[in-house]
């Protein structure tokens, strides 16, 4: 039995579909447990990705990891789950470790592939500079899957949705305020990312980065010094001490490619580097390189993307 936890408070994210697909791939019957306000029709669609049943507790807002842990542990116990799958996002990071202790089940944090034939699971280590294979010693295992590691796959029909309650206890965390800038694509889940560094000279020059990101439907990111001096918000900082991402496409403009920066982005499938200095270390990690001034190249690239998009419709 496989249990998959997804957060559906803001609908079904791609990361949620990935975790259900992952549950299906590791085999057996997949039950999904979730909280929040997604409609039953929406939740029933999870059947198409391999779920045979969805259990939803609408009384839990998901803000307290302790409540979610109690909820998931109770369901895991009820259905006799041998594997519990999370997305390695803010919920997975907060709840999976708690559940590991509660169930005495080994945790594979940040899985990037389905299990190998010996049962070990591949994860990034040393901030993406290497990979490791983790084996769980307990009967039960918990896996949190790094977003964008596998693609959602449709394999079935819609499934049944059941309301549950009474497992989660009360919340110890009071939410005073939620600040969510509208319209932004969350960086860890983004498939396309446009990133820029100190080579852009100042925060007033980010308009062209946002234009390119918008033309592509990409999220924006930056190097550490750029976040440190306050040109960009901290949550955009990628690298060894920032967010680690693995998008399909990472475009880096005016970033030198220091080892600590590369650590957070070298899991990207394709890397494009734009830099005036042909000796910039980033070119060694790039698939496509452009030696040139970002102030000229980026607007030109944005126009080219727009022309390309126009031919696609």
């Amino acid at each position: 039995m496989v249990l998959v936890y997804i957060n559906s408070t803001t609908g079904l994210s791609k990361a949620a579909l990935e975790t259900v697909t992952y549950g299906k791939k590791i085999g057996g019957d997949v039950t999904v447990v979730t909280n929040g306000s997604a409609s039953s029709e929406q939740l029933a669609q999870l059947g198409q990705y391999g779920a045979s049943k969805v259990l939803v507790d609408r009384s839990v807002d998901g803000e307290d990891p302790q409540q979610l842990t109690r909820l998931i542990a109770a369901v895991a116990d009820q259905i006799g789950a041998s594997s519990v799958i999370f997305s390695h996002d803010i919920y997975g990071k907060a709840v999976a470790p708690r559940l590991s202790v509660r169930m005495k089940a080994g945790l594979v944090a940040g899985a990037i592939a389905i299990p190998e034939s010996d049962g070990s699971i591949k994860v990034n280590v040393f901030s993406g500079k290497a990979v490791g294979f983790v084996k769980v010693a307990s009967d039960k295992q918990i896996i949190s899957l790094l977003p964008n590691s596998i693609q959602p796959e449709q394999s079935g029909n819609s499934c049944s949705v059941e309301e549950i309650s009474g497992h989660a206890g009360s919340s110890a965390i009071r939410v005073l305020e939620t600040k969510k800038p509208e319209g932004n694509i969350p960086l860890p889940e983004a498939e396309l990312v446009v990133s820029a560094g100190r080579g852009l000279k100042g925060p007033e020059n980010w308009g062209m980065i946002e234009d390119l990101a918008q033309a592509l439907g990409a999220a924006t990111a930056c190097s550490r010094p750029v976040a440190d001096i306050g040109w960009r918000p901290h949550h955009e900082h990628v690298g060894q001490t920032g967010v680690a991402i693995r998008p399909n496409l990472y475009i880096a403009a005016g970033i030198s490619g220091a080892i600590q920066h590369l650590a957070g982005v070298n899991g990207s499938k394709v890397i494009v580097v734009i830099n005036t200095d042909k000796e910039a270390p980033f070119f060694k990690a790039a698939d496509y390189g452009v030696i040139g001034d970002a102030f000229e190249v980026i607007p030109r690239l944005t126009e080219a993307v727009k022309r390309f998009k126009a031919t696609q419709h």
């Binding site: 307290d64 202790v101 965390i173």
Partner: protein, 246 residues
């Protein structure tokens, strides 16, 4: 406020990453260990700031061997009052968390702080595990923390934004960027660190729940294809036809 800060060692960020013993062990040859940056820059420094503003005591704890006393002295030099080393060579996060939880339970700290993850294994596991073992609330990926009486007010990362939350002590908090600024220890701190108390306690018997069976280096990139800066249509065509990412 009586604060416990959990610190871990991590290889210096410029370390060459290599493996030995048929790729089953990290090659420590020539590797310089530092205090894991998230533990030092964010958890420890914010704990010290809280102590400076509202009073209290900051204890650091690490699960490690005698080789780890250098990072303990570094954390003491930055300003922690005392240190505890739980004597073991840890193999998994569960082992570490169980040791720290059992120590912390006996001492009754108001606040237990960790970094958001280590930069070598990046698991984000220890904080949540300690919280569950102690049956305490857990605020993960906190970017701000203030305390008044028994109330903590925190800002934490959520999908696509931040959230302000409130919780009663005791609690466990994992710290991310934004919490505090790095502090460089001064000469006085370094001298004082030599005489601050370091208690060594034996580890408890705990079975590991997981282990690394092997490691690998990611596949090296084939050589980079250079594109003429005046021809961005070509780049877009390659991204579509060859790389198939747009």
């Amino acid at each position: 406020m009586n604060i416990l800060v959990c610190i871990s060692k991590a290889p210096d960020t410029t370390s060459k990453i290599a493996f030995t013993n048929n790729n089953t062990q990290f090659d420590e040859n020539g590797v310089q260990y530092i205090v894991n940056p998230y533990d030092e820059w964010y958890a420890l420094v914010r704990a010290l700031e809280l102590k400076e503003s509202i009073g209290g005591n900051v204890t650091i704890v690490t699960v490690g061997t005698t080789a780890d006393e250098a990072i303990i002295r570094k954390a003491l030099a930055i300003g922690a009052d005392e240190a505890v080393r739980i004597d073991a060579d840890p193999k998994d996060a569960y082992f570490v968390a169980m040791q720290i939880a059992s120590f912390a339970k006996a001492k009754g700290f108001d606040l237990v702080m960790t970094g958001k993850e280590t930069i070598n294994y990046n698991g984000s596991q220890v904080g949540g595990m300690i919280a569950e073992a102690m049956d305490l609330p857990f605020i993960s990926l906190a970017t701000k923390l203030d305390a008044s009486g028994t109330k903590l007010t925190l800002e934490r990362e959520i999908v696509g934004g931040v959230q302000v939350v409130e919780v009663e002590t005791p609690a466990v908090v994992s710290c991310a960027k934004g919490m505090a600024e790095q502090r460089i220890p001064n000469m006085r701190g370094i001298m004082a660190a030599r005489t601050k108390p370091l208690t060594i306690i034996p580890a408890e018997e705990v079975a590991d729940l997981s282990s690394y069976v092997s490691y690998n280096m990611p596949n090296a990139k084939s050589s980079v294809k250079m594109i003429d800066p005046s021809n961005m249509d070509e780049l877009v065509a390659l991204l579509h036809n060859e790389a198939k990412v747009i």
